[in-house]
Every structure is written in structure tokens, then in C-alpha cells.
Amino acid sequence: MNLKKILNTNLVELELKGNSKQEIIENLLDILVKAGKVKDRSLALEAILEREAKMSTGIQQGVAIPHGKTDSVNELLACIGIRKDGVDFKALDGIPSKIFIMTLSPSTRSGPHVQFLADISRVLTSEGMREKLINSGTKEELISLVVKGHA
């Protein structure tokens, strides 16, 4: 999958402001809304929270992948955010989450949506990589780390 096609510097935030799970999710959603491709912010938010209610997407080792299926987008959208201090995302391993990847995918259209999430999560399995991402100085650097890590 071509991560480069989906990610660009407008879709990366190196310092998220939120202090709670809810705030972080809203931060990330705002990045996507700003990019101009979300038709209805509240519907999208509802989809993400609904998924989060079933089981936290704080997967492990400080990585969280909040996502949702909603008709308020026409194609797969993704953004990456970093919160160096870490936020309690009710992760399975209890470790505060620092790296967040949010995706929104259309509920009625097929496409490699879960595959995208899996691909990008795989990049984050090594601790060194996670360290580098958290400490990347620029948005370009972060994107190139993710793209290279995937290749």
C-alpha cells in the first residue's frame, strides 16, 4: 500500500494538545476536518467513539489507532499525531499512548481500510522506530520514517 499517497504534512501533528482520550480524539479529528474531506464532523466523531466504546484502540506499547466507519467521508482518510507526555487511552497494557493514528473509512465502499491500519501498525512494532517517531523534529521527517519503515 502506498502510504505516501494518503499521508502528507497537513495530516501530521507533532504536538497534540489534548489531555484526555476524548480530547485527543477531537484533536485528531480536527486535523482531518481541516484537510476538508469530512462532510459531517459530529457523525464522524460518533463513529469513532462508538468503536472506542466496544474496545479501546490503544493497542500496545503506547500506540493507539482510533478509527471509524462513517458515511461522512468518501475515501480513506488518515492522520498521525504525537503526544510526548502520553495520555491514558485505556490501552490493553495500561501504558499511556503517545503515538496516534486515526483513520476514517466510508462505511459503504470497499477498500483496503483495515489493511492500511495493519500496515501502519506494523511499522510501529519496533521500539527504536517508536522512539524515532516520537522524537521526530519535523513533519516531513515523521512521514519519511513511516514510509521507509513500511517499505
Binding site: M55, G111, P112, V114, L117, A118, R122
Partner: protein
């Protein structure tokens, strides 16, 4: 006329009942493919056996021998023709074209090797054995060569999945090779049928005409396939306006019949047109549903086809060719074992692995019968050679499974230098459910999940819940055994598979809470029961 139709209807009645019952016995009691049961049914009730018994009420026998090249009446044979079109149309629909194009590598080497060597051996054996077959290009020799190429991996797929070897490097190679094998076999048939038509009309070898025919066959195949693949998505889109899968599937089948007639008109075999249409539609999103919708007529017609093929076996005519039959069968086996095994050896398998691949390509089935039927009806081969084809088919079905199981015992089939990147490193994810119905439900949900991710889901076996899930180079297999679902995947895709399963299982939560909010089943049951006796229910 009335009498003709009366006999036809009675014939069909006897055929269907016998075919279904013997098919069931073979499958469930003898653990053999259903096809063999249907074939045997034909042999038993056919004109050379019970079918010849005089029935006073019919003023003759139920299956009298007509004065044509075929031992069954043209009316009855018409059903077999339609059945063969359904068979090849479905085969085309099931073809996984992206895999055929991308998985290629080892698979195509193996498939090609098997087709070429078994064609040459089948042809040569015929030339050497029969004094009246003068050269390699003799129609009879060409036909027996073609007959020897067809592989039917249904049996192999079943055995491999039972032994959990489906995702092994050998298993993947065999299945990829089989796709190629089908396509090449059918193109070969197209060319040979054309060539035979020219040759039987004159003396010597008309090389020029043969060339033209071969080009025409290839051209028709290529052009109609390309046009088909380009037009199919639009066609599917327009057909979808009817908003009825029944309409879509039956009209598609109408196209298959049309192109079958067309290919016969340009001098090719009918089934080629049917296969091409199926192949073109296989890439559209209506392929899956079309197959499901056609299952009804498939289950009705296809057993008739195999039974009619069995009826054409003339035991008396086979006596004289028993020795040849054995030699030909041995040649056909050698063609596959060495033809597929040697390329496998070159592609990095060791001797064990190569033998496994060769063994996996041995079974024969539908396509062999169709080719034999075409040969018999066009007069290229006689009843003796038709019998030989059946002999080979039976021998392969009896010998191949135990041989295959034996070869798959023991260690890796990969040569040591390639072991580092041995794709045989497969992870299995097992899920147990409280009951089979639950597992059935989850399986369908998971498959839908994969389809939504634009994977191509292909059911390997009509009777077992074994699926191949593919996209590009990714191959995942899903296997359901009663209340247990297991998924095999390479380590690189394990994260994806786990995530997808997780999402689908989480979706169940919605479904369950939906169920809970529903009126309690007891209440609903009471309502239904009350309605049965015309008492209006007191509950709301």
C-alpha cells in the same frame, strides 16, 4: 414426436435419480469424488448395460443405441452440451485472474511443464502404438495428447486442506499451476479442434491451414477475452439496474450460451466461448453471486453430463485397448510427475517437494471428460479411445490420493539454500465457537470483511468450508470444521488478519445487543404459535 419426448423425459428421470444416489454413495460412503459416482451411474444404466433391456411398454429399451456416432440420442446429448457450457462457465467464473497473472513465477513454470510434457507423451504413445497413426500431427494423436493435459485439482485441494498443507509452498504452487493448466488446456483444445477439422477433410498435413487455424483459435481466444474483460464491468453495471441477481446471473448465462455458439461457428469448441465469458465476468463484483445463483441449474445439469459420459463407455470396445490404456495412463502420469516435477526442482524445491507437486497435478476430472466427449461426438476418436480416457480418469482418481498423502509425509519440500525465505512459515489463528451455527455466521461475516477489503474469496470445494482469500501476492486460507474456524496466513499478514477478525468480532457486539433489545424469543414463539390457531395474540 410424442413418443420421442416421452422417452426423453423418462431417460432424464432415471438419469437424475441414479446420478444423485450414486454420487451420494461415492462421496459419503466410499469417500470418492461425486463425479465418479455419477460416471458409474451412467455405465450401469447406459445402452451398453441395463439400459439395453427391452421394456414392453416402451416398445424398446430405455436407452436404445441410435444410428449416430454417439451412443445416446441427440435430444439427450443436447442436455450434456448445455451442461458442459454451465460447467465451463462456472469454471471461468471461479478463475482467479489476478492470481493467474501475478502468482505466476513457479506456478506457471510447473503448469506449463506439465501441459507440454503430457501432451507430447500422450501424442507420441499413440503414434508409436497404432500402425494407422502415422505422425505426430495425426488428429487422433493430437486429441489423445490434449486429453492427457487436463488436471483437476479439486481432489488435491481437498486432501491438502484436510492435512493442512494448503498454504505450504507446494500447495500454493500446485493451485497456481492448476489455473494456468486450465487456461492452456482450453487454448490447446481450441487449436486442436480447429486443426482436426481441417485435417480430416484432406490428405497429408496442411501446415498452412493448421497455422491459420491455430492463429484463428488463439486470436479468437485472446480478442474475446480482452474484449470480455474490458466490457464485463460495464455489462455488470448495466445488468445491476435490474436489481435482481436472478436476472443478472441468468442473462450472463445467456451470454455464455451465445458466445459458445459463436465459437463453434468460427470453428472452435463451444466450451471455449463459455469459459471466456466466465473468465471475463470473474473480475466483476457480480461473479460471486452469479455463481451462487447458478448453483441450482449447476446441480441439476452437471450430474446429467457426467452420467451421459458414463453411458458412452462401451465395455466391449474397451477390451481391445486395455494394454494401450495402461501404457497411455502411465504416459499421462509420467507427463505430470516429470513435466511438473522438473520445473519445480529448478524453481527451488527438493526432490521430495517436486514429487509432491507432480502428485498433486495427477487427478483428472471434468475437463478430461468434456474433451473426450467432444472427440467422440466429432468422430475424431472412437469408443475405444473414449474408453481409454475413462480408464485414465479412473486410475488417476484411485491412485493419486493415496500417493499424494504418502508424498506429503516427512519434512520440508524446499531445498536447503532457499529455506531462509521459505514461505512455508505459516501462522495459524484458531477460533472456537459454541456451536456450528455460530461458526457459520462468523465465517460469513469474516469472508464479507475480507471482500470489503477487496480480497478475492474463492471457495475451494463445493462441499467443504475451505476458502482461498487472495489479493495480489497475499494468500490467506480459511477453513471451517464444525464449530472451529482456523485461518492460515504468512507472518507479514498476521497483524492484518488479526485486526480484521477483531473488527468483525466487535461488530458482533452490536448484533448481540440488537438481539437483546428484541422481544424475547419465548414471547415471539408464543405469538407465532397463537397465530397458528387463529387466536389473536394478547401480547403486544
Amino acid at each position: 414426436m410424442t413418443h420421442l419426448m416421452t422417452v426423453l423425459v423418462l431417460q432424464l428421470a432415471v438419469i437424475i435419480v441414479f446420478a444423485k444416489i450414486l454420487g451420494w454413495v461415492f462421496q459419503n460412503k466410499l469417500k470418492q469424488p461425486r463425479v465418479l459416482g455419477e460416471l458409474t451411474a451412467g455405465m450401469i444404466i447406459g445402452p451398453y448395460a441395463l439400459g439395453s433391456i427391452h421394456i414392453p411398454a416402451l416398445h424398446g429399451s430405455l436407452f436404445p443405441l441410435p444410428d449416430t456416432t454417439l451412443p445416446v440420442t441427440p435430444e439427450l446429448y443436447g442436455f450434456a452440451i448445455v451442461a458442459s457450457i454451465i460447467l465451463l462457465f462456472s469454471a471461468g467464473l471461479e478463475t482467479d485472474l489476478p492470481t493467474f497473472l501475478k502468482f505466476s513465477g513457479k506456478g506457471s513454470l510447473v503448469g506449463l511443464g506439465g501441459v507440454i510434457l503430457s501432451f507430447i507423451l500422450g501424442d507420441l504413445v499413440t503414434v508409436l502404438y497404432f500402425d494407422d497413426v502415422l505422425h505426430f500431427m495425426d488428429p487422433k494423436a493430437l486429441f489423445l495428447g490434449t486429453l492427457s493435459t487436463a488436471t483437476s485439482v479439486g481432489i488435491t485441494a481437498r486432501i491438502l486442506s484436510e492435512r493442512r498443507k494448503m498454504s505450504s509452498p507446494e500447495g500454493v504452487t500446485i493451485l497456481a499451476a492448476a489455473v494456468l493448466d486450465d487456461v492452456i488446456g482450453i487454448i490447446l483444445l481450441a487449436v486442436v479442434v480447429g486443426v482436426v477439422k481441417v485435417e480430416t477433410s484432406g490428405d497429408g498435413i496442411p501446415w498452412g491451414e493448421i497455422g491459420i487455424i491455430a492463429l484463428k483459435a488463439l486470436g479468437f481466444w485472446l480478442i474475446s477475452t480482452v474484449i470480455g474483460i474490458i466490457v464485463a464491468p460495464k455489462l455488470a453495471k448495466n445488468l445491476k439496474r435490474f436489481k435482481s441477481m436472478d436476472m443478472i446471473s441468468i442473462i450472463s448465462f445467456g451470454f455464455a450460451l451465445f458466445l459458445s455458439g459463436l465459437s463453434e461457428m468460427v470453428g472452435l469448441a463451444m466450451i471455449i466461448g463459455a469459459y471466456v465469458i466466465g473468465l471475463a465476468l470473474s473480475q466483476t463484483d457480480v461473479a460471486h453471486d452469479t455463481r451462487e445463483k447458478l448453483l441450482g441449474i449447476y446441480n441439476f445439469f452437471v450430474p446429467i453430463f457426467f452420467t451421459i459420459m458414463g453411458m458412452m463407455v462401451n465395455f466391449a470396445a474397451m477390451k481391445g485397448v486395455l494394454v494401450f490404456g495402461l501404457i497411455y495412463t502411465a504416459a499421462a502420469f509420467a507427463g505430470k510427475i516429470f513435466g511438473c516435477g522438473l520445473p519445480a526442482l529448478l524453481a527451488g524445491f527438493n526432490i521430495k517437494g517436486s514429487l509432491r507437486i507432480g502428485a498433486g497435478m495427477l487427478p483428472r476430472g471434468e475437463v478430461t471428460l468434456i474433451i473426450a466427449g467432444i472427440g467422440l461426438s466429432s468422430g475424431v476418436i472412437g469408443q475405444d479411445m473414449f474408453g481409454v480416457a475413462i480408464m485414465t480418469l479412473l486410475a488417476a482418481s484411485i491412485i493419486a490420493p493415496p500417493y499424494l498423502i504418502k508424498t506429503f509425509q516427512g519434512g520440508s519440500g524446499y531445498s536447503s539454500k532457499l529455506k531462509d525465505k521459505d514461505p512455508g512459515d505459516i501462522h495459524t489463528i484458531d477460533l472456537d465457537f459454541p456451536g456450528q451455527k455460530m461458526a457459520d455466521f462468523i465465517r460469513e461475516k469474516l469472508l464479507d470483511g475480507f471482500r470489503n477489503e477487496e480480497f478475492f474469496v474463492h471457495k475451494i470445494d463445493y462441499n467443504k468450508q475451505i476458502y482461498h482469500i487472495r489479493k495480489d501476492e497475499v494468500l490467506i486460507t480459511l477453513n471451517q470444521e464444525d464449530d472451529k474456524i482456523s485461518i492460515n496466513t504468512s507472518p507479514e499478514n498476521e497483524a492484518f488478519v488479526r485486526l480484521l477478525m477483531l473488527e468483525e468480532v466487535l461488530d458482533l457486539k452490536d448484533f448481540l445487543s440488537g438481539l437483546e433489545s428484541m422481544k424475547s424469543p419465548d414471547m415471539m414463539g408464543a405469538d407465532l404459535l397463537m397465530g397458528m390457531f387463529g387466536v389473536s395474540s394478547g401480547t403486544d
